[in-house]
Symmetry: C2
DNA sequence: ATATCATATGCAAATAATTGCATAAAACAA
DNA sequence: TTGTTTTATGCAATTATTTGCATATGATAT
């Protein structure tokens, strides 16, 4: 169950709330793992019980209070020991590619539309990465160093997003546009 | 739950056993979905109960018999109706990238070793795709047409594998090799 | 000769993840 | 001013997935 270690890794770089972790997992530096907010909150509670994270509850005027989590020394030990273990295989699920695979049962117009839609999503992801990259590149030297390896994982993400965009272009060139 | 539709899509192109589907999911044309053999067998049983697939049990001399599954007309209707629905978001889990992200807690030698190992796996995947590509390209025209869109999904896979390999190279150039 | 790998199927228990619900307020857009 | 998005947290029920076990034979490697 590596989501706990994904959370420990993210919190080890920057402390944050459950909500914050969820956004990092979804559009940002943590996109090597997909996770919903429900799952993140549940795992944080469980990590806290195990003593691997702790939090400060921050009262906000009017707003509901938030919990800022950080890794404990025991949590860091756990992360380090996990890092020594063999890596588990990657897992992917691309419902969009099922559609392409079985695309002979769709009209060309529908196929094109799905590809355009999907391409736009990958464009957004790449744009988000590019913004983050600019933010990192303008950090003072010390901070920049801290983000060196997280940034490296994002560079892979950028390459992959570019691959999706290229592929989308090629697909659209390949599928003739029908007249109405 | 799209794994059922992933199975329907694979069987719609070529009928096959549970074992066969599992191998397609893992190293081949079906790599847009990760699935274990246990899960595939369970889903096949469930798909059969729903009447979306059926099978012939083929006795093999000495060997245990195998079940060759194919999509039923009802199953094809289900697949077609699923194709009309909006696509669910992709999901990924890359334990390897957690390691890179938190790699400041590893020695440079260990980091390099993990990257080399990971890179070799992606090289194998790319090689498997390349072989399959050659097989497809040498098919007679009619068969080639049948695989056009499945092959398209594999082309994306090839781009993504190439991205991993490039990234691995860059990472290894970036992480100094320590003397013993 | 012996061991491991590939083929082939599946159950049962445990764990992980999704879906639906519930609450609350600020910020922003129409 | 009314609706939507963003911030912020979480429970409960259901569904999906993993892990461990169990079996069996042929092919290939050492």
């Amino acid at each position: 169950m590596s989501i706990k270690h994904a959370i420990l890794a993210l919190l080890d770089i920057d402390q944050g709330t459950g909500y914050d972790l969820m956004t990092r997992f979804n559009n940002s530096i943590g996109s090597f793992w997909s996770a919903s907010h429900q799952q993140v909150y549940k795992e944080l509670a469980s990590l806290a019980t195990e003593g691997w994270v702790e939090f400060d509850e921050v009262e906000q005027a009017g707003k509901p209070s938030k919990k800022i989590y950080r890794v404990t020394p025991a949590g860091l030990d756990e992360l380090k020991s996990w890092l020594q273990k063999p890596v588990k295989p990657l897992k992917v699920k691309y419902p969009f590619l099922i559609k392409i695979f079985a695309g002979d049962h769709l009209s060309k117009a529908q196929l094109r539309q799905d590809i355009i839609q999907n391409s736009a999503e990958h464009r957004e992801t790449l744009d988000a990465y590019t913004k983050l990259e600019q933010w990192i590149l303008h950090l003072p030297e010390k901070e920049k160093k801290k983000y060196h390896l997280p940034y490296a994982t994002m560079k892979l993400g950028m390459k992959v997003e570019q691959a999706w965009l290229e592929w989308s272009e090629e697909m659209l060139n390949d599928i003739p546009q029908e007249r109405e």
